[in-house]
Symmetry: C2
Subunit: 175 residues, 2 copies
């Protein structure tokens, strides 16, 4: 399956919609979709904090939904679009489910295993390899993350300021 | 948490019990348990064929149960015992859930990422490292797999023989 630039942008926009659902829940905004024969058969967004489950990454949820839809653990002829480079767990799940191709936005310099720290998706020692393409709607995907972490830092700063003010108030009352 | 040889054998025996549950279902016999403060808080066995879900490895199911039991995605101070070296997906999940230590039986030369093809559990570029120990009840764990695959080959051979006999019967009738 080969996608045109417009098609890749279309599917990644769907993954971004998923990322925004994570953002609304206060989760790191990462989203993914699994595409099969030009339709979405799996969608997922990061739910780690909400689910209190370390395995609930966007890609895992999308893959599991796709497994249910096809009634098969094999996702041959499926493509995965994800707004951030997959980690080792998700790369492993992509290989195990035999996904055909993976398209992602920005690289993850801290944990990306689809080309950055290593490339598990194209490691020919494993029993399946997936085609990998980096940089699809990279800026849009990156903006989501940059905005999220900027706002998170701001909230933490404001909370600290409020705590400091409360402490000073208590000290003044105690004097 | 340091375990004596007897303690390690005890926990691995529990993982082997899980592997036998997979075997009864016709699944590749792999089992895992998560231990926290000297009690099991997560158990799992391979369910890929039954669940038709590529992510249902023994370790993943045990980790998810432990997450639910502790009501936390962090499994700090937890140890995982598994009857075969973890793959990339499971190694990734172990790192993400911050499991303290991993003990496994035999190496997996085709897909093991806890020392064989690579060592994702002790990769200091990732944000967590787990202590790894290979060879706990190695022979018992290996025997389970060897027996399973030997019986599988035998069943396939018998099925082929039956098919060939049926074909010959049909040919004789048609003569």
């Amino acid at each position: 399956m080969h996608f045109t630039k417009t098609e890749k942008a279309y599917w990644m926009t769907e993954a971004i919609k998923e990322a925004r659902k994570a953002e609304l829940l206060g989760e790191v905004p990462i989203g993914a979709v699994v595409v099969h024969e030009n339709r979405i058969i799996g969608r997922g967004h990061n739910l780690r904090e909400t689910s209190k489950n370390a395995t609930t990454h966007a890609e895992m949820i999308a893959i599991q939904e796709a497994n249910r839809r096809l009634d098969n653990w094999r996702l041959e002829d499926c493509q995965l679009f994800v707004t951030l480079e997959p980690c080792a767990m998700c790369s492993g799940a992509i290989v195990l489910s035999r996904i055909d191709a993976v398209y992602y936005g920005p690289k993850d310099f801290k944990g990306g295993t689809a080309g950055t720290l290593m490339n598990l998706l194209e490691d020919d020692r494993l029993n399946h390899q997936a085609y990998v393409e980096q940089g699809v709607l990279e800026e849009e995907c990156k903006d989501l993350l940059v905005t999220f972490f900027r706002e998170l830092r701001l909230k933490k700063k404001q909370a600290k300021l409020q705590r400091d003010c409360s402490c000073q108030g208590t000290e003044t009352q105690a004097e």
